[in-house]
Symmetry: C2
Subunit: 343 residues, 2 copies
DNA sequence: CTGTTAGCGCTTTCAG
DNA sequence: CTGAAAGCGCTAACAG
């Protein structure tokens, strides 16, 4: 059993690659490749010898080279600022799912102007991604064409209502959620219901939320009161301003439905500041069910959407689609009205 | 001027690569490469012809191939869950800086167990990154060795006090910040100061904050009261619990210094719930100055650390270091005590 | 200014 | 089960 001691240790280094490992293990490079990616195709003995060298030298295969010849391993994603409520959760979901499926997340984020958006997609595509996950931005025609010609599976996380997805879409119906919350508030006896959102122009999600709010009012026989809507930036300060503006417009306002928890949190603080009791003097409802919503005083009545799950699901869809499985064009994620004390 | 109309449009496609573009433009592949990356080295005429084909065909160069032959373009980063306060801002900063410098952000995130951490680094290294940006995790010895043998510039965003960085480090002195806040509270007349943090074990940042808190008390002649410290999860619920636990231990407690705004926000809500006035009945101080801190009622007294800037700076350090510039081993980022109404 | 040659590190393919 | 040859798409290095 005169086993060759493999740790001669002083052979001239040479760049550490599959080739060098092969030389040290006394096999062909191809065999090392197999030992690493397809261990069954190599005899146990050889494999052991190779793995020993790999471990000793701390060899890490070059993914760039590997991805060039074989399967793509990058999942690219373009997201709005992570600081926005919910996006971080979503990215977390994608990241976790990527790790599970052996992919890598390449992230581009920012406040995308129409041109920048196209540019970001171009960059992403340049890395030969296995798939792309996008938030629903303006999506200029140029960007859409680019995506289509990219021939890569794409999941858009977006408003699902009335969308014609580029490839696959995943999301909630913002109309339904807002309709449900508005109905819920009516059921609880509120009558004068205000609504805050960022400028809805060019943002189909917020647009759908507003339409849902309006429709619920109309369907229940309330002539819907246009002056009870405001557009303000999605920040706590925006929520605080909403309280001022809307109660000024209608002193008898019952409740404000904020199209984001961030706004709602600001609104709640403003009430504290004024010494107003919630929900007696003014009730507040939110959207998103962020972590803080259940810890706030009073706890926030809000719409729960599983952002983390959406991120996960997006990657899973992509992976399935890559595996040749048939995926529904549009998948609707459920939601839940969380009824707590703020409204 | 019989310009060759270049849109013959029906040449057999061939995979769209630099080679195919070259064929269609009637030049050598190398010339296309130059037109794309080093436009000055190509005659205006040729360049125009090439760019026209590139635009018409929607050609996007393969970054994988390009990165193999020339400069690395990926910056890898390993971060704790994005949902944690501050991390999202930091990633945003990195992302923005990457875009400015023409790099790509490859993200790995998660709750890293010691083994997983090593694994994540291995994965990152496999993509041949130009540099790595890491949060200060436990950093097992194996992981450290891996990083050193990776021969890649590394920026650790971490506690800077008493650190021996693998390569470069960037961060605040958590000791100094906590010391400063504690002194600030003493200056304002508070005497019985509680302290909340997550379990500090294995987290040098939190450990340093606690030591800073203790030292400030000692330096001002206060025998420091061990029972006024609790370890609780960094969540709003943790903050709420801190109020219960600490006021139970010491009914005369003046103020709670929360080692994170998330905790502080929870503590503030708990006070509202109990109908306690802040800061009269109990004052609350935070750490981080998140967006909400200035919108909360009452507005939160907290430590401001520029997380976004840290992310940016980390990338900039990396880029400079790649350009051969000499970078200080450890760079300390400033901080500010934001004095508002909560304490 | 433009082209040719060689090769990055790996894997596909085909031949032992 | 193992190996040799060829090439992924691009660019450094060297001619012209």
């Amino acid at each position: 059993m005169a086993k060759r001691t493999p740790h001669s240790g002083s052979e001239p280094a040479g760049k550490l690659g599959i080739k060098e490992i092969a030389r040290r293990a006394g096999v062909a490079p191809m065999t090392v490749s197999r030992a690493l990616n397809d261990p069954d195709k190599v005899s146990i003995e050889t494999r052991a010898r190779i793995m020993e060298v790999v471990a000793r030298e701390g060899f890490i295969p070059n993914q760039l080279a590997s991805s060039m010849r074989s399967a793509r391993r990058i999942i690219g994603t373009m997201v709005p600022p992570l600081i926005n409520s919910g996006i971080a959760e979503q990215v977390q979901g994608m990241s976790d799912a990527c790790q599970a499926s052996g992919h890598q997340l390449l992230l581009i984020q920012g406040d995308f102007a129409p041109g920048a958006e196209e540019n970001a997609i171009r960059t992403l595509l340049g890395w030969q991604p296995a798939g792309l996950i996008l938030q629903a931005f303006v999506q200029s025609d140029a960007a859409r064409r680019l995506l289509i010609s990219g021939r890569v599976p794409i999941v858009e996380i977006s408003e699902v209502r009335g969308r014609d997805p580029i490839d696959m879409a995943l999301g909630v119906s913002n109309f339904d959620t807002a309709y449900a919350m508005t109905s819920h508030l009516l059921d609880k006896g509120y009558r004068r219901i205000g609504f805050v959102s960022t400028p809805v122009h060019g943002n189909d999600r917020l647009q759908q939320r507003r339409i849902g709010y309006r429709q619920a009012l109309l369907d229940r026989g309330h002539s819907y009161p246009a002056p009870l809507e405001v557009e303000l930036p999605i920040t706590p300060a925006g929520g605080a301003d909403a309280v001022s503006i809307l109660t000024e417009r209608d002193a008898a306002l019952d409740v404000i439905f904020c199209s984001s928890d961030t706004l709602a949190i600001g609104a709640v603080q403003e009430c504290h500041r004024r010494g107003w009791r919630i929900p007696e003097r003014l009730a507040i409802a939110g959207y998103g069910d962020v972590d803080l919503a259940s810890q706030l005083f009073p706890r926030l009545t809000t719409v729960h959407v599983d952002r983390y799950g959406m991120g996960r699901r997006a990657v899973e869809q992509l992976v399935k689609s890559l595996a040749g499985e048939d995926i529904p064009k549009v998948e609707t994620i459920g939601f839940e009205i969380i009824d707590r004390e703020s409204a």
